[in-house]
Symmetry: C2
Subunit: 196 residues, 2 copies
């Protein structure tokens, strides 16, 4: 049984965490990206399907490949971010199930059922994208997630010849708090929740 | 700038956190459910759209309403869980944007664009479901998320006459570690990630 984390952790993960548009000039090394994956990978997915695939776009060359897919409002901040993560999912994820979920024939639940494949990959790949955001915050990093871009262009530039499809993007680095916008409000418990 | 959380927090949120099938006989009171929402609500969504809606199914009567929608493998454990959260999303979420994202006319991006409405609600409602899982773990609670159920039956039983659609379920409580299955492996960094 676990005790609650402390208030400082609640603040870092949720209450004071913000979506950053600008980042400090401080690079992210390979070890930090490995540490990030090695935390987020433990988050739960349906039948341990783990469909998410991540491209950490860091080099100038890769940023230039990403550039034509970005919407105008997301262009400058993304080109300047230390890393932009392409959160994607592999529609062939079920081929890994004999290893990832070995106690039953889970592969057969999916093979040939394109609707279930698409829904499972999108839902669980998205969950894993959220795990990555929270793992980044746990590591003291900051995120700027976005869905304003041309998915087909990203898929062509980064995933041609595969069944991997882009989902959303996350700018990643150490945020610059001087460039934050005022925070928007959230729905109240009564507006978003019901106890039945 | 934040420092990384400590190893105990990494363990509680990710490394030692597990999907629980059975829970201790320990109820969750209203205050705990409010505390959970008041943490998770701060997680980022596209244009602060916050499409997720949550039903905390706790009473015997509400559990009985949920029962016919559950798949056989999820039936017993869900009926016995202290609370089962229906993670849903409101396809009318964009009507709240004048308040949630007031500095531009974000409502007009969505109204009439059914594909964008569906994709945005599903993606961001799923992100919020993941935030709820991580917020629960931060509070010392345990989760058992599931997508094996009949969404249409849940929608009819809980959301009739609305544009709210169920996404997935999360059993919630204080887990019983004696009833855990062995942990399945995850994909390696090299299998799931690429640094470009």
């Amino acid at each position: 049984m676990s005790e609650p984390l402390d208030n400082a952790a609640f603040d870092q993960l949720f209450r004071n965490a913000r979506t950053y548009n600008e980042f400090q000039d401080r690079p992210l090394d390979d070890a930090t990206l490995h540490q990030l994956y090695d935390l987020m990978k433990w988050g739960p997915t349906s039948a341990n399907s783990s469909p998410a695939r991540f491209v950490f776009v860091r080099s100038d060359e890769a940023k230039q490949k990403l550039k034509p897919a970005l919407s105008e409002g997301n262009l400058d901040k993304t080109m300047k971010a230390p890393v932009t993560v392409i959160v994607a999912h592999d529609l062939a994820f079920y081929d890994e199930l004999p290893r990832l979920f070995p106690h039953t024939d889970a592969r057969s639940w999916f093979a040939g059922n394109e609707t279930l494949i698409q829904t499972t990959a999108f839902r669980n790949g998205t969950l894993q994208g959220a795990y990555l955001i929270l793992a980044a915050r746990a590591l003291g990093l900051d995120c700027g997630p976005m869905s304003g871009f041309d998915n087909a262009k990203v898929d062509e530039a980064f995933f041609a010849g595969t069944r991997i499809k882009s989902n959303f993007l996350i700018n990643l680095g150490y945020g610059d708090p001087a460039k934050l916008y005022p925070r928007n409000e959230r729905l109240s418990f009564e507006e978003a929740c019901r106890i039945a």
